[in-house]
Amino acid sequence: MMGPQSTTEAGGTGRRVWAPSGPLTLKTVSDHWKTFQNLLSDPAVKALVVDLSGVEAVDSAGLVLLKGLRDRCAAASIAYELAHVPEPFRPFFVFGGLDRPTHEKPSTTRVGENALERLGRLTMETLQDIGELIEFVGSVTVAFLPCCLHPKRFRLKEVLYYVQRSGSEAMPIVFLVSFLMGLIMAFQAAVQLRQFGANIFVADLVSLALTRELGPLMTAIILAGRSAAAFAAEIGTMKVNEEVDALTVMGFNVTEFLIMPKVNALAFSGPLLTLFANASGIFGGMVVGALGLDLTPASFLTEVVAILSLTDVVSGLAKSLAFSILVAMVGCLRGLQTEKSADSVGRMTTSAVVSSIFLIILADAVFTVLFHVFDI
């Protein structure tokens, strides 16, 4: 469309005249732009005249092109002149500020960072995040006792609501996951143990693994996916709608009003769900035992009762309590960290799930070491 022939050399003074024809619009400016780049990089050019007499239409893109050309000419000390501006374009050019010098454009790109700076920033952010988590855990702990001693501040109604949402409504999925897990574990073990005629040990394996480890862990992961995400999204949305600010200025203690009911509800329903998960998993194992291993349910259960000690069950529940509180706190913290945009709610919800699963596994490792050291 725009060949080099469109600029003409006027005498040997380095003065060029450019007379585009046709429209100067979004569709055509990119072609013109290339011509200009060549022109501007040519050191022989000392002055540029833009003759608009042949131009039929101009839109914002054309206008910005002309402005950009003017500014670049100024930067390269090339004299620049607009000639034969068609009368109908003048109001638009005035509106677009073609008659005024361009303001210094604020930089819209953030300053780039190299790998080292990025590493540093991420490290600082992670440290700060850990700091915030610790501070948050502290503030919740401080709020805990007064909350529980004072019936009005305990907010039983809200606690029950969240027990319903995070506890009762999670039962089907907890049952399904644990039942299948017990089933699979029993089945895998059965293949090996049958060779030694040690069928009955399937009951030991399933019940011990579930109560000590997998029951609390799977329940916590399900809670992270359901409740941590729900809490983060709920509080995050409240943040976006300024509801949290409104509560604060009304004099509500946000920790007490928004966080404690959720933490208390999970602390209550988490261990109960874990018991339920244990039972479901053992039931799964029992089904495999009855159908595939010639174990009667009664003998299976007798073996389970014989092998399980109270310590196994209680240590599992203690873990579960810790995991549940962790999940609730991380969900609420991520909600409170939300900035005022919908996008931020999404990111914080994701982060709530990811962080809580990470922390659950970390806490589980700590528990394992502790239980080992104290021989539990």
């Binding site: 833009v50 608009l52 002149e81 607009l82 000639a83 034969h84 501006v85 003048r90 050019f93 005035v94 073609l98 008659d99 005024r100 949305t237 409240m238 709608n241 300024e242 509801e243 600010d245 409104a246 509560l247 604060t248 200025v249 009304m250 004099g251 509500f252």
Partner: protein, 270 residues
């Protein structure tokens, strides 16, 4: 509270050398003003000049970078900030720019929330009070609606009822009539004026609406983005008719060109 009892102090709000901003970047610098009991002070200024930011600093939601704020004599920016905020919170009401009703509670429960939390009133009395408050803002028939089921203007009115629930001494409003039709906006202004006259509530109202300003303001504080602070204080009619500042005149006479003197004249070269 508030109502029909002469306020103990004449100076309700005093801001001194207030610099507020986000991070290290100040939005407003060195702002000083006083609001007296019984006044309706409107805060004016173009979009993005820091009106909401100033409001957040006045109600203790953001900490100023420098300077102090005293509300009813209590310094909410000093070392004993939390205690001071605690002591004033029952005496102030805030109407947020977008209402900020709790989405999980009905309108009636939203209004009842501060009553249940901060008073020992019996339930039936709270219900009557809620009905009374909703009736004043014309929403008595919508008590059991959820906030999401109301229009923007109705939500603002419900939020006003909630802000007024504890009969505050000072009411802060962020653009109460933004986005409302002229009639509803005028009704809301009328309501604010009534609350001011009948209950003696001191008000700080952020608004752009000239009509509102002229209807309700006893005094105006005008902010400016490039000045990063107050450019004029005074009664609305004085600012409108006697101000020497072109920015103030431009605002009151709706002539943006006055603020951009270089814009008009020159034609493109060539």
């Amino acid at each position: 509270m508030g109502a029909l009892k002469p306020p103990a102090e004449d100076v309700m709000i005093h801001a001194e050398g207030l610099t507020v901003g986000y991070g290290e970047r100040p939005v407003l610098k060195d702002v000083t003003f006083t609001v007296h009991a019984g006044e309706i002070v409107t805060v004016l200024g173009g979009s993005g000049c820091g009106k909401s930011t100033l409001l957040k600093a006045l109600i203790g939601l953001i900490r100023p970078l420098r300077g102090s704020v005293r509300i009813r004599g209590a310094c909410i920016t000093g070392s004993d900030r939390e205690a001071a905020l605690e002591s004033i919170r029952r005496h102030i009401g805030v109407l947020f720019q977008y209402g900020a009703l709790l989405g999980s509670l009905s309108i009636a429960d939203n209004v009842a929330l501060p009553l249940e939390e901060f008073t020992d009133l019996p339930r039936s009395l709270i219900a009557d009070l809620v009905h009374f408050k909703l009736d004043t803002v014309g929403l008595a028939d919508y008590a059991h609606f959820m906030p999401a089921e109301l229009s923007g203007g109705m939500r603002k009115r419900a939020a006003l009822a909630r802000a007024m629930a504890l009969d505050p001494e000072i009411l802060f409003c962020d653009e109460p009539s933004a986005g409302l039709d002229p009639i509803t906006a005028a009704e809301l202004d009328e309501l604010l004026l009534e609350c001011n006259r009948a209950l003696g509530i001191t008000m700080v109202v952020i608004t752009h609406e000239l009509a509102s300003i002229e209807a309700i303001a006893t005094r105006c504080i005008m902010l400016d983005k490039s000045a990063q602070g107050i450019i004029a204080v005074g009664r609305p009619e004085d600012l409108k008719n006697h101000s020497a500042d072109p920015r103030v005149r431009a605002f009151f006479h709706r002539q943006p060109s006055l603020m951009r003197p270089e814009a008009a004249s020159v034609a493109p070269e060539g």
